[in-house]
């Protein structure tokens, strides 16, 4: 870059000679692709297909471990306080990175070569933002250009769509009102602008001249109200902010899908938002929308029937919002299997011809592969009978769809064989523990919680499997790479009679623990529901609170409370706890699988495992991998303490053909946002958002040492 170019011009100086004498490989030979043009990254996951793929190959298996920090950018000064949950992937356009950052979710532009802040836009939304169900930095922003104007669009914490001039960060006066569209208005429902339970982490999706925006709500384990905000999806004119269309993810009477609800439940149900990223195919004119459940993540008593478009992929004409097709992945879901990430659009060979397909990673660890023109499965997806539960008033779907190919990419359901087996003692304790729960295959129903059968162990747990970062895809080899975690959870259902806590008669919980209201991120409205608490008064949750509960399986008093799955502090199931899987879409098979992440500290140092040689277990979290010409690149989830006694996490690279690890670089904190890559002035960069624990948010750029400019 500039500095090194100058150094070259000064060739023959002592400094240069000294550098040559050290003789690094990279200084001696120009880097691969060093004369190639700059590349861009104009969408959240590289492109509207959500491939998170780049053909760059300067950073390779041979040199990955040589990566150095080119620059880093702390976000501490953005917002009124530090952030520790920094999830964006930046965009790269003409040498500038655009992203959202900081606890207030400011939108910023950064010099991609140096990390220098170029501009920032902030909107102080007061209580409206503090009440939002989706706070902090979010997943990033979107870019639009007609070749002349250039705009950066993002959704604020308080659910407003902002359009900025990409050059200056100044709001576009032609868009909405002074550059802002209030997303709580013109939403086909009346909402209180300050307190309504709606927000969005995801980036708005730009398809041609339309910007498509979804909706997210508070978690629905203990829904405060029956008639929550409906999470409709809308398309806006990117130039003016005018609403072009709205799609009712919960159909109104007379609309397609309404009849899939029993007793007219659709009239009153809320949620059904699209909180995940979306994909678009500009040739087909379609946007692919992953829909979550209607209100009640584990209780469906007010959304009886299959209740479209819950947990469905819906293909919409992005000019008009008209539904082209839909596919429901889970009927009347009771396991919080919200479709968490964008479907990956992929053109794959099927029986000798190329098919425009999509591949949808999920919390349940199935990759659903559909024809994206028609919504028809590429490989048969069959309806299989599933068990019904015992929750009063619940409606149970008799069957669920099971893909026949590709196979599940993580463990589904729980059997005795899946339990921890490092030692016979641990296995025996695990068997004792699960006697206090219902276990079974995928889609084993939640049950009424009671002592001795606290609930159903659901695996993957309600956070997946795969969550919001989604997977990546290599269009040359037709391989999908996806991270998933094996982290079971417990779904017990408990009765609720306190309407101030929830309007639901049954809620997700554990017997003996009084349900607590669950509102927008602990928003102010929750305070109204709470019983007053005097300083020093007895705790208000059920008798004694979780730690004083009877222990399942006769564990020691210091053991986990009911509903928490651990054996001597170790995870209940066998490792890997986190893995990356390569899935070959030419065959519908799994090609390789690797435990991703160094073994957690508490497993490596556990006294019960002393002397045992345990292969790397991986770590659980939410991670999005990046695929390049030769590598799959992904940072680790959570911290571990390395051989030098230093806390941190590794950014790892695998041979994408085999899964063999080729190199790793230290990061001071775990990957919190999915990595992206670009070539700028001959150098390839990898940029990744990190943070968590006691390490506040930081954007870090890696590149190879020396040469290449």
């Amino acid at each position: 870059m500039f500095d090194l170019s100058r150094r070259r011009l000064l060739g023959g100086t002592a400094a240069t000679v000294a550098m040559m004498a050290i003789g690094t490989r990279t200084a001696a030979a120009p880097l691969r692709g060093a004369d190639g043009p700059d590349t861009e990254w104009r969408h959240y996951a590289a492109d509207q297909a959500n491939t998170r793929y780049s053909p760059l190959d300067q950073i390779s298996a041979d040199n990955f471990a040589d990566l150095e920090v080119a620059w880093s950018f702390k976000t501490d000064m953005l917002g009124a306080r530090k952030e520790y949950q920094f999830e964006p992937t930046p965009l790269l356009v003409k040498g500038r990175l655009y992203l959202t950052a900081g606890s207030r979710r400011d939108c910023i532009a950064i010099d991609a070569a140096t990390g220098e802040l170029l501009w920032m836009h902030r909107l102080d939304e007061g209580r409206r933002a503090l009440n939002s169900p989706r706070q902090l930095s979010g997943h990033g922003c979107s870019f639009w250009t007609d070749g002349t104007s250039e705009r950066v669009l993002y959704v604020t914490n308080g659910y407003q769509l902002v359009s900025l001039d990409a050059a200056t960060g100044i709001p576009d006066p032609a868009f909405g009102t002074n550059g802002i569209v209030d997303l709580k208005q013109n939403f086909d429902q009346e909402l209180d602008l300050e307190t309504a339970d709606v927000g969005l982490h995801a980036t708005p999706l730009v398809a041609r001249d339309t910007v498509v925006v979804g909706a997210a709500h508070s978690a629905g384990d203990v829904p405060a109200v029956r008639k929550n905000v409906k999470g409709y999806v809308r398309g806006f004119d990117v130039r003016t902010g005018r609403r072009k269309w709205i799609f009712h993810t919960i159909p109104k009477k007379g609309e397609y899908g309404y009849e899939s609800w029993l007793n007219g439940d659709a009239d009153e149900a809320g949620n059904g938002g699209v909180w995940a990223e979306m994909s678009a195919d500009e040739q087909l004119g379609l946007v692919y929308v992953p829909v979550e459940l209607p209100t009640g993540d584990e209780v469906g008593v007010f959304r009886r029937g299959n209740a479209l478009f819950g947990e469905s992929i819906v293909a919409l004409d992005f000019e008009t919002g008209v539904r082209k097709w839909h596919y429901q992945l889970v009927h009347h879901g009771l396991w919080d299997r919200d479709i968490p990430c964008a479907p990956i659009l992929c053109d794959i060979p099927v029986k000798g011809r190329m098919v425009k397909a999509l591949a949808q990673p999920t919390k349940q660890a199935f990759l659903y592969v559909l024809d994206r023109e028609t919504g028809k499965p590429i490989w048969p997806i069959v309806e299989r009978k599933v068990e019904a539960g015992d929750v009063p008033g619940e409606w149970y779907a008799p069957t669920q769809p099971f893909p026949t190919k590709p196979p599940a990419y993580d463990v589904q359901g729980v059997t005795i064989d899946d339990l921890i087996d490092f030692t016979p003692e641990l296995r025996a304790q695990a068997i004792e523990l699960v006697k206090n729960y219902k276990i079974g295959p995928l889609y084993t129903p939640p049950v009424v919680s009671k002592p001795g059968r606290w609930g159903t162990i659901t695996n993957p747990g309600i956070q997946g499997g795969t969550n919001w970062p989604g997977g990546c895809y290599d269009p040359e080899t037709h391989m999908v790479y996806v991270y998933s975690k094996s982290q079971p959870g417990v779904i017990g259902i408990v009765p609720n009679t306190n309407e101030k806590v929830s309007e639901f008669p049954q809620v997700h919980g554990i017997a003996g623990v009084a349900p607590r209201p669950q509102t927008a991120m602990g928003s102010e409205s929750a305070a109204a529901f709470r019983p007053p608490l005097m300083p020093g008064a007895a705790p208000t949750p059920g008798p004694g609170g979780p730690p004083a509960q009877p222990r399942p399986g006769g564990q020691a008093a210091a053991g986990p409370p009911p509903g928490f799955l651990a054996v001597q502090g170790l995870p209940l199931l066998k490792p890997p706890y986190g893995r990356i899987t390569a899935i070959d879409l030419t065959k519908g098979d799994l090609t390789w699988q690797v435990a991703h992440g160094e073994t957690p500290d508490n497993v490596r140092n556990h006294p019960a495992l002393k002397g045992l040689k345990i292969p790397r277990t991986g770590r659980a979290g939410n991670l999005g991998p990046l695929v390049t010409k030769t590598l799959v690149i992904c940072g680790e989830a959570g911290f571990y303490t390395n051989e030098y006694g230093i806390r941190g996490a590794m950014l790892r690279a695998y041979d994408k053909a085999t899964g063999e690890e080729k190199g790793a670089v230290y990061m001071p904190a775990p990957q919190s946002g999915s990595p992206m890559t670009y070539r700028l002035k001959g150098k390839q960069y990898i940029v990744v958002a990190i943070g968590g624990g006691n390490y506040s948010a930081e954007l870090v750029a890696y590149r190879l040492p020396g040469g290449g400019s």
Binding site: G536, G545, A558, G693, N694
Partner: protein
Amino acid sequence: MNGLKHRKAAWMAMAGTLALGGAVVARAQAADKTVWTGVYTADQATRGAAAYAESCASCHGESLAGIDVAPPLTGSGFLNNWNNTSAGDLFTRIKTTMPLNAPDSLSGRTVSDIEAYLFQANGFPAGEIALPPSPPMMANVKIVAQKPAG
């Protein structure tokens, strides 16, 4: 009150340490002070459970298991995220960023109560001295996921 007595004891211990000078302070800090040595009181954890239910449970869950947008506060993931940090680090994180709708609104005493509850829920033993309401006073309390041998 019992808690008050413990707090008093903590203050007395600290005052004593200060009076005896720097060398003693250094030795006190080196003396295996981890979350396994009883760094909070049972009373404090009980108060913390109530404060947790009030200010934290709606996002982090009754069983501290977390949700899509709020991490778990117990178990392997939590312990590993905080392993080899200090009780002061965790205190600061809670105090300055939580709850999301009103960061820095909880008193230091409430935050240390909540932290005591998290320690209890993660299986760390209670002791005689309460977790102090200020991070510099617990910078020497190391969070160690596994109980040190011996």
